[in-house]
């Protein structure tokens, strides 16, 4: 004989990923490493921006990169060429990185020396938005060749980010992309977001982007010092 029973089970479907992301965040906190999750559509210029950042920002902070791609290690090779330690994650059939994939890399040596860890997510404006990795800041790149209506089509990723960078701005005069319209669309979804314009090819705006990174890293280090001070005072 069988009986039915209602099991009220309010549980977040992606709760396990969120718990693992919290675990990663705590690990990054212990390493004193500020972590940036960089997301965009394929071909928006994530790797190019990182290459230029490391070239022009040399000596400003120590870095390590985690490259997420479905197959191959072409992007990792490019980052390695500019002298930055890099770890490739091949996601296979998966179209995004998840927190468990990042957790497997937490104890590699280069990671422990970095003040900034850049996670280049798989090129995709949909799935990566749903999977926090333990990052401190989420950055979305939108290239001017994609169209200024993309924030309306992919609202979730633009809502859940701290900074949107318009890339390939050297091409602005050749395309119909309207930066002002795109910014309005983004701000309608995410009122607290910051925006920036860069061209990794010409270096336009990269100085401002590096200054933002330096400020974020310094702010994070300051936060950790304050946290340590409060902890000592409490004891």
């Amino acid at each position: 004989m069988h009986e039915s029973a209602d099991e009220h089970a309010l549980e977040r479907i992606l709760g396990k990923n969120e718990e693992m992301a919290d675990h990663n965040r705590e690990h990054f906190r212990r390493l004193k490493a500020c972590t940036f999750n960089i997301m965009s559509a394929p071909g928006a210029g994530k790797t190019s921006l990182l290459e230029t950042t490391f070239r022009l920002g040399k000596g400003k902070f120590t870095s390590c990169v985690i490259e997420g791609d479905m197959v191959g290690n072409l992007d990792a090779d490019r980052i390695r060429k500019v002298g930055i330690p890099v770890h490739q994650i091949s996601t296979g059939r998966s179209c995004h990185l998840d927190a468990q994939m990042i957790a497997r890399l937490l104890h590699v040596e280069e990671m422990e020396k970095a003040e900034a860890i850049f996670i280049e997510n798989v090129g995709n404006l949909v799935c990566p938005a749903e999977f926090p990795l333990g990052e401190h800041r989420r950055i979305v790149l939108l290239s001017v060749t994609e169209g200024d209506d993309k924030p309306i089509k992919y609202p979730v990723i633009f809502r859940n980010c701290d900074l949107v960078i318009f890339t390939k701005c050297d091409l602005l005069e050749h395309v119909d992309f309207n930066i002002s319209e795109a910014t309005k669309h983004i701000e309608a979804i995410n009122p607290n977001v910051k925006t920036m314009q860069v061209s990794a090819k010409t270096g336009y705006g990269v100085e401002k982007w590096i200054a933002w990174l330096v400020s974020e890293i310094a702010g994070y280090q300051q936060h950790l010092k304050h946290e340590k001070h409060v902890h000592h005072t409490a004891h």
Partner: protein, 136 residues
């Protein structure tokens, strides 16, 4: 295609519920909420769920029930309540400003699991409850 990962997570949550009840339990249905402001396609999740459920003990006959939750927001400038939609670029139809606060639409939750348990197990559970009462 993260819908497969979402279907798998739902089945894992159901599996954990069943495990906590014992091996003689099986799931009849699971009810989930998907907010409009999540990147989840209900049809794809259902497809993946139906194709994966045989792999999870006690889930073979489990039906997935999906409820979509409309987004609801207060606009930034005039504090009107409205439903942000792509058609109006997520702006308030009254004043044209964007989202100030999003009240609902970001749900991605399992809210209910209906399980079938056999009577000996139920009796066992009742005994356990009596035991706890006796200690109290």
């Amino acid at each position: 295609m993260h819908e497969a990962a979402i279907a798998k997570s739902i089945l894992e949550i159901v599996g954990q519920r069943l495990q906590s009840l014992g091996t003689a339990a099986s799931a009849q249905s699971v009810e989930v909420l998907f907010g409009e402001f999540r990147n989840v396609d209900a049809e794809s999740v259902s497809f993946a769920f139906d194709n994966m459920k045989a792999l999870f003990p006690g889930c073979l006959n489990c039906q997935l029930s999906i409820n979509t939750i409309h987004a609801s927001a207060r606009c930034k400038d005039s504090e009107h309540l409205y439903r942000p939609q792509a058609e109006n670029a997520y702006r308030c139809p009254s004043c044209g400003s964007g989202i100030g606060k999003l009240f609902q639409g970001e749900e991605l939750d399992v809210v209910n699991v209906i399980v079938e348990v056999d009577t000996p197990l139920k009796e066992k559970r009742q005994h356990a409850r009596v035991g706890r009462r006796a200690r109290a």
